[in-house]
């Protein structure tokens, strides 16, 4: 999905001075984290009600206490 591409930004410019292997480690961790979140969202997508608009419209409750 194109939306997901947007998240994979290059490391910010001000990080350029940091020792190279640290940058690599940091961005690797960042990527892993994002992958984790993406995986989680994918999993949530798979159980989400199909039609959001229809669901929201029909979710009506009687008032209670």
């Amino acid at each position: 999905m194109p939306e997901r591409e947007q998240k994979k930004k290059p490391a910010p410019k001000e990080r350029e001075e940091v020792v190279e292997e640290d940058v690599a480690a940091t961005s690797e961790r960042g990527e892993k984290l994002k992958e984790g979140i993406d995986d989680l969202l994918d999993e949530i997508d798979s159980v989400l009600e199909d039609n959001a608009e229809e669901f929201v419209r029909s979710y009506v409750q009687k008032g209670g206490q």
Partner: protein
């Protein structure tokens, strides 16, 4: 003087009957409860579904015949809870608990009972129909249903004193008790996302109503205990929580504040001006930057007022102790420490409470979707996520997805929650009620919060009063239960002593 904070939580669940031509929420709620009760009666074997407990023990524990007082479905469970239909919603009232960790367990057990009920109701429904329940407090269209807390309070405390101190408490504690929702309702100012599901629905400061013009402090006076000694403070202003940390804090901190009020320990006037506007303003600002006017503190944020309550709580713990408020000093200290950590995090970075507080956990989930899918805050998908977070079906609940992904902190072991579905708390009169139901289901004619009616085989029926919520605990009656084998013997022993 502070009395032991015996507590209970009653939750009205949202309910949908899907696939039915003319869905009736009262019928759906009744089917859920009947389905659950019937399964217990025939001893459905849950062995393959849940680890850690002997299925025979569970199957033996029967849920109970309806109370006489109402024609609606109304069951009392062997864990001492009440499970019934109220205002077109299925409602689960936990048994009386004696500390904030115990209540977390029994509140969570309620979710599991509703989940089992949905499974059970499948057998009672035509193909293509399904009942789904949600542990939330609003439908996003102006209809709200409650999650009420109940606290045992010393009758000697003038009600006006409770009101004066509790309004600022209830206006500000939502920063950790809120369950979060997209948008606003009930004529409140528009917003993208707000902290509490309930705050838009409060229109009065004090009153008896619970279903319209809801008051921040509810005046219902129905102690379900010795009315000379006790009040039952009926709190209607809270959100239903899924995060165990939120429930633990909600009950633990409120119990401490109540104990301080009973002991006359709050020495400052913390009154908030315009509480109705304030409760909405606080809810509508997820940065926690909204300010309120407090009599002796001036203009401050909800978190700053909470710091003042915490400071008093620490002092109260040092001088008086927290056994009355939280059951043990250890639990009291846990409440204080967690409270402090949460307030600090709310000031520095609320998002760091992802996985501890419902409103933050949900907000972080929605933000992830906003970022990934480029959604506007009015997108129906966000509202769907906001509701489905509370879906109680284990395979559909977004909250449970986050738990399984290891993103939510739990306080209770799942096998202890499973046990709490059937076994009563040992430290309150719920033990007596639940044990009678488990042993002599057919002889319990009616069970209520403060009495039990037994059929001992001959007229008349025998009513056993239980006006003291701390009595009837395991410590009090375990020996007695060991020594008797029939309800008649039990009644004989109780009347002889």
């Amino acid at each position: 003087m502070a009395v032991p904070k015996i507590v209970g939580i009653e939750t009205e669940y949202g309910v949908s009957l899907r696939g039915a031509p003319d869905p009736n929420p009262v019928v759906a709620s009744s089917l859920l409860i009947n389905g659950y009760v019937e399964q217990r009666r025939v001893g459905w074997d849950f062995e393959d579904e849940t680890p850690g407990r002997d299925a025979r023990g569970f199957a033996r524990d029967g849920a109970q015949p309806p109370e006489i007082e109402t024609h609606l479905v109304n069951a009392v469970l062997t864990n001492g809870a009440r499970y019934y239909v109220d205002h077109a919603h299925p409602e689960y009232s936990t048994p009386e608990c004696s500390d904030p960790m115990q209540i977390v367990r029994y509140d969570k057990a309620g979710e599991r009972i509703l989940a089992r009920s949905m499974e059970a109701s499948r057998r009672l429904l035509p193909a293509g129909q399904e009942i789904v329940v949600y542990k939330n407090n609003s439908d996003g269209k102006g209809n709200s249903y409650g999650c009420h807390e109940n606290y045992l309070v010393d009758r000697a405390v003038p009600f006006a004193v409770l009101v004066r101190n509790l309004i600022p408490w209830f206006v500000t504690r939502q920063v950790f008790t809120g369950a979060g929702k997209v948008g606003s309702e009930n004529g409140a100012d528009p917003c993208d996302y707000q902290i509490s599901q309930r705050s838009d629905f409060f229109e009065e400061e004090v009153g008896l109503e619970t279903t319209l013009k809801r008051p921040i402090v509810n005046t219902r006076d129905e102690p379900h205990a010795d009315p000379q000694k006790y009040r039952r403070l009926h709190v209607i202003v809270g959100d239903a929580n899924l995060c165990e940390v939120a429930t633990f804090l909600k009950v633990g901190t409120t119990a401490i504040v109540l104990a301080m009020i009973e002991d006359g320990f709050i020495d400052k006037d913390l009154s908030i001006s315009s509480p109705i506007a304030a409760i909405r303003a606080v809810s509508h600002d997820p940065t926690c930057g909204a300010t309120v006017d407090v009599a002796e503190l001036g203009r401050c944020t909800a978190v700053e007022l909470q710091w003042e309550f915490l400071r008093l709580g620490r002092k109260y713990a040092d001088e008086t102790g927290l056994v009355a408020a939280c059951g043990t000093e250890e639990l009291g200290t846990q409440v204080l420490d967690r409270w402090e950590a949460v307030l600090g995090a709310l000031e520095s970075d609320p998002s760091s409470l992802d996985g501890q507080l419902d409103w933050v956990t949900k907000l972080e989930l929605l933000r992830a979707y906003v970022e990934r899918d480029g959604l506007e805050w009015r997108d129906p998908k966000l509202e769907l996520l906001s509701v489905q977070y509370h879906d109680v079906r284990p395979n559909r609940s977004l909250y449970e997805k986050l738990v399984r992904a290891g993103k939510v902190e739990r306080l209770c072991a799942e096998d202890s929650v499973y046990a709490a579905m059937a076994d009563p708390p040992e430290s309150t009169r719920a033990y007596f009620r639940g044990t009678c139901l488990a042993r002599w289901a057919d002889s319990v004619v009616a069970a209520n919060w403060d009495s039990l009616v037994l059929d001992v085989g001959t007229d008349p029926l025998r009513r056993i009063p239980m006006m003291e919520p701390t009595r009837g605990s395991k410590e009090h009656v375990a020996q007695l239960f060991e020594e008797v084998s029939t309800p008649r013997q039990l009644v004989e022993r109780l009347t002889a002593s």
